[in-house]
Amino acid sequence: MIGIECRALTKKFMKGETTITPLDSLDLVIEPGSFLALMGPSGSGKTTLLNLIAGIDRPTSGELLVDGLDIAHLSRSRLARWRAEKVGYIFQLYHLVPVLTAYENVELPLLIHPLSRKERHARVQRALELAGIADRHDHYPRQLSGGQEQRVAIARAIVADPPLLLADEPTGDLDRESSTAILKLLRKLSEDLGKTLLVVTHDIATTDYAQATLHLEKGRLVTEPGEEQRHA
């Protein structure tokens, strides 16, 4: 299980003359094994925060400890290796590799690790079964529905057994029924496997499944959602 600590975490982007600050001195502690929903209006910095925690981007200032490790100061290749071990990332638009089958997509993260073919097969099979998509293992992404694609993507995120799962609007492109199934799946991953889960969402239903909900507005955490969001 993995915990996360942010202290005065700040991210700035320079866009020509203007500076955008999607994360402004954010303080946040995520307990190991917790399942948190992260809500907030569009442009409030949710994806930015997720990317910092995943080591995809680096903070401008502040402190970021993931599992006690100051990932901001790892080299690019060390970060890649760290991600391969510790982080599963789930995207809104699944981002499956179109030329690979469901099975092969799920196998991708395992190819980074020194595993036997047999071991890989067992793991991929287990991940596909956990995600409830084992019957479609030889399908290509274009042959799957959105919900099925997201299941494959989740299988891919968990196959290497990372302790931390980050999901960026995983149900954003799905219908109600599929969304509910995906959310149940995520909760199961949290409860049964003890994964630390941070799920960015616009979907208020997500909060029913998460242990707690964080609200982000203009780069800062707020205790209560603001006006615009309550009516969203």
């Binding site: 995809i56 690019r76 391969a84 071990e85 995207f91 590799v97 030329v99 993260p109 980074i112």
Partner: protein, 388 residues
């Protein structure tokens, strides 16, 4: 650290059949072009290389050292050359070949008003002693006064007719008369291969000249050398001779044609460059459409090295297919093809070094061409790549 599966590279090829076809054709053409120009340069170079171990000296008219066709020396020169001691002999016959070299219009069809300028060489039988590289492959040497010809292996290419058209018994038209082919010869990788040989006196009659273009003699190494020949040329002021070794003569020719080689090279490079740029463009487009995927792979934990490797694999598959096709094509189609050149011809040579250069260039360009678009594709920060 393991990399992306090879399947990923191969299946990516199928993503856009149009692009794949374009890249394949492009890399084939670039390789073929490199092979063609290398075989041209090699063929031309080989034809201007004297046969190895050659100890021939060539007497030309002083002042015409660069061109045997322009050279004129007196008939008497042949006898004077015979006074050099240390000439090779066989059965008492010295290796001295008085020759006339001239380019004349040769017609395969008398109805056609204009023939093709073809190098003719008027020879005596001693020419076959001096030019030991010449082999009569069919028939016999021509006999003087009988309107007979001996035809080299590249002449058909030179005249633009099928080789069978120059078989024994066939007729060519020179100077308004019919000449019968009585022999075929080969002297691969020499200028002679593109020549028609004709008895010396017959050619002198056609050309209305009573002099020679050159006298070629074979020395016995250790008994005579070029200095003996030079002394003779300096003493016989009346004959107005210049002399050089056959090797020197060919080196002079070779220097003369250096600009042609440079041009061929430059053209090939320019077209190849165009090919690379075109290929680069295809690759940029192919890779740019995968920016988000590359971002995803990095999020999964693949280092950039692995991604670059996979993309290079992809390009390498294309370029090696292209190189293979081009290599086979070049070898099957280009090797030995006669290239009309100035008034002679030479055969393209597609041999191991030429193939190695062509295929190597094709592969190298494939790899190098894929590098910039790959790097371009990876330059975007992962976060941004995911959004695109």
């Amino acid at each position: 650290m393991r990399g992306l599966p090879f399947d990923y590279a191969t299946r990516n090829l199928g993503r856009s059949p149009g692009r794949l076809a374009g890249a394949l054709v492009g890399s084939t053409l670039v390789t073929l072009l490199v092979i063609a120009s290398a075989s041209f340069i090699r063929g031309m170079g080989a034809s201007l290389d004297p046969p190895a171990g050659n100890s021939n000296v060539i007497f030309l008219g002083a002042g015409s050292e660069e061109s045997v066709e322009r050279s004129e020396i007196r008939m008497q020169a042949a006898d004077v050359v015979g006074t050099i001691s240390g000439l090779r002999t066989r059965l008492g016959q010295p290796f001295i070949s008085p020759e006339v070299h001239i380019g004349l219009a040769v017609r395969t069809d008398p109805a056609v008003p204009e023939g093709r300028l073809t190098p003719l060489r008027g020879v005596r039988p001693s020419a076959f002693l001096v030019h030991s590289e010449v082999q009569i492959t069919e028939g016999r040497a021509p006999v003087a006064g009988a309107n007979e010809l001996l035809v080299g292996g590249l002449v058909s290419g030179q005249l633009g007719v099928p080789d069978a058209r120059l078989g024994l018994g066939e007729v060519l038209h020179i100077d308004g008369r019919e000449w019968r082919i009585v022999g075929r010869m080969r002297a691969p990788r020499t200028v002679i291969d593109a020549e028609i040989w004709i008895p010396l006196t017959d050619l002198q009659v056609i050309a209305q000249r009573d002099n020679l273009s050159c006298v070629i003699a074979t020395l016995v190494p250790g008994e005579a050398d070029i200095t003996d020949a030079e002394i003779l040329a300096a003493q016989r002021l009346d004959l107005e001779l210049a002399v050089m070794t056959e090797s020197e003569y060919y080196a002079t020719l070779s220097r003369f044609y250096a600009p042609v080689r440079a041009m061929v090279l430059a053209t090939a490079l320019l077209v190849a460059l165009g090919g690379i740029l075109g290929g680069l463009n295809t690759m940029v487009a192919a890779f740019a459409s995968r920016v988000r995927e590359v971002g995803t792979l990095q999020v999964i934990g693949y280092p950039r090295r692995a991604i670059i490797l996979s993309f290079l694999q992809e390009s390498w598959i294309i370029s090696s297919c292209g190189a293979l096709v081009a290599g086979a094509l070049g070898w099957a189609v280009l090797d030995g093809v006669a290239v009309r050149f100035s008034m002679g011809a030479f055969g393209l040579i597609v041999d191991a070094p030429v193939l190695a250069i062509g295929v190597g260039a094709g592969l190298g360009l494939g790899l190098l061409g894929a590098l910039p678009p790959t790097i371009h594709c990876l330059r975007l920060p992962v976060g941004q790549a995911l959004k695109s």
